[in-house]
Symmetry: C2
Subunit: 256 residues, 2 copies
């Protein structure tokens, strides 16, 4: 199925989980100084820092496994667009506050189930990262759920707008439950999470919160994919890495 | 007044005129695939290409004068934020269509007067670039004036919104008529344009078009400055060069 060795698959697996955190964390950091209130600014930036922190641990582990002297910075700053294997949901532009909340809600519901499962990985390092991350993403899910209920069950305008956010982002949720060949190989070893198996529980979380929020769940139709399997990104991704990597590209090897 | 040699001042002068074209041209190119109609897309992209073309000629001349083997690409892709000496008006974000039209209108009215004067420069190369550019910016002024009249003398909403664009961008017009020490030195040689002297005629063009557009002229109050004199830019400038220079920073020396 895949030409990757187990070690290569594991490097890629750790990096791709890190990519989700780095990219959605970077997107959320774009709200810095722009959030609707100072409390929400702090809450959102804390979530962003959690996610970027997860990426750092995962990249550090990937670098160790890689064994060619790389560091976490090589993964964040010196890879090209196609090397990033995040879920496309992580990279979609912030849009308005409702779009950002819905994106975080979909991702956090997934992350909670994903990291719960990862704690049972036979790879002890991944299991430990899963346990630490789980506490963080559980808070992200609570934060984003509360906001989704507040917006959905709020004014006519907030309801209408956040319903549109859900409809717009729905097509990015299908990819969450796909599996790459590398993941399937690692699943057989008890290392990787069976993401396809997370769907029923994710559906349940989403349905429960949408119901409380008086919002409708869109039908499953066509879904975007290609991010985690192939590194094929949406149009705006290049701008994320241009922004994120510019300093390191301009001053190679720079440090604080 | 300045420690620059005449040659250094001339390199900087050619580059700073080029910077205006490159930066506003880059901003306008951000509209690509997003303009309100295909005709406007083509018109705006043609203006952008004219301005970027002017930058290329000016950078090529600056590189020749510099005499250290640089090319136009060094000026566009390998300088840092503080080296760019464009007028701040050129770099302000696109905003809506009205903001983009007003920015182009203010800049084109200035460019028309500036390049007309530059044709009389004692530096033959600059005089020739001035003559070629003049035809282009004359069209830009006509295009943006017509749109300004259409928006100002259009619906209540277009009138109100474009008036806001004018009010918002007005504070960036004061810098157009400032002069750097380098410019003053070159003015004494008959090389540089006396930009301070362009103001009455610029005022006249602006007042005439605003009157036709049924729009009000804001009062002159505080004005932004620091772009052309010191390379101190607005917050969004770093993102322009991260975007514009990324490919060259990622693949140094790359060519098509």
């Amino acid at each position: 199925m895949t030409n990757l060795s187990k070690q290569e698959a594991l490097v890629q697996y750790a990096a791709q989980i890190g990519d989700n955190g780095l990219i959605i964390g970077h997107r959320m950091s774009e709200w810095c100084f722009r959030a609707p209130s100072i409390e929400m600014e702090m809450a959102l930036m804390n979530c962003a820092l959690d996610l970027i922190g997860q990426a750092r641990e995962l990249y550090t582990y990937a670098a160790k496994l890689d064994g060619t002297g790389k560091t976490e910075d090589d993964f964040a700053y010196l890879r090209d667009e196609k090397d990033f294997r995040n879920l496309l949901l992580a990279e979609v532009p912030n849009g308005d506050w409702g779009d950002t909340i819905v994106r975080l809600f979909f991702m956090s519901a997934y992350n909670k189930l994903f990291f719960t499962a990862l704690t049972k990985s036979t790879d002890e390092e991944l299991a430990a990262i899963g346990a630490k991350s789980l506490k963080e993403v559980t808070y992200h899910l609570r934060f984003s759920s509360e906001w989704l209920i507040r917006l959905g069950d709020g004014t006519d305008e907030s309801h209408e707008r956040v319903q549109k956010s859900i409809n717009d982002l729905w097509a990015y949720t299908g990819e969450l439950f796909t599996m790459t060949d590398g993941e399937k190989m690692l699943l057989e070893e008890g290392i990787a999470v069976d993401t396809a198996a997370l769907k029923p529980e994710w559906d349940q979380i989403v349905t429960d919160v949408l119901t409380q929020a008086t919002l409708s769940r869109p039908e499953n139709k066509w879904a975007h994919k290609g991010g985690k399997a192939e590194g094929i990104h949406t149009e705006s991704f290049g701008y994320i890495i241009a922004d994120m990597q510019f300093m390191q590209r301009r001053y190679p090897g720079c440090s604080w």
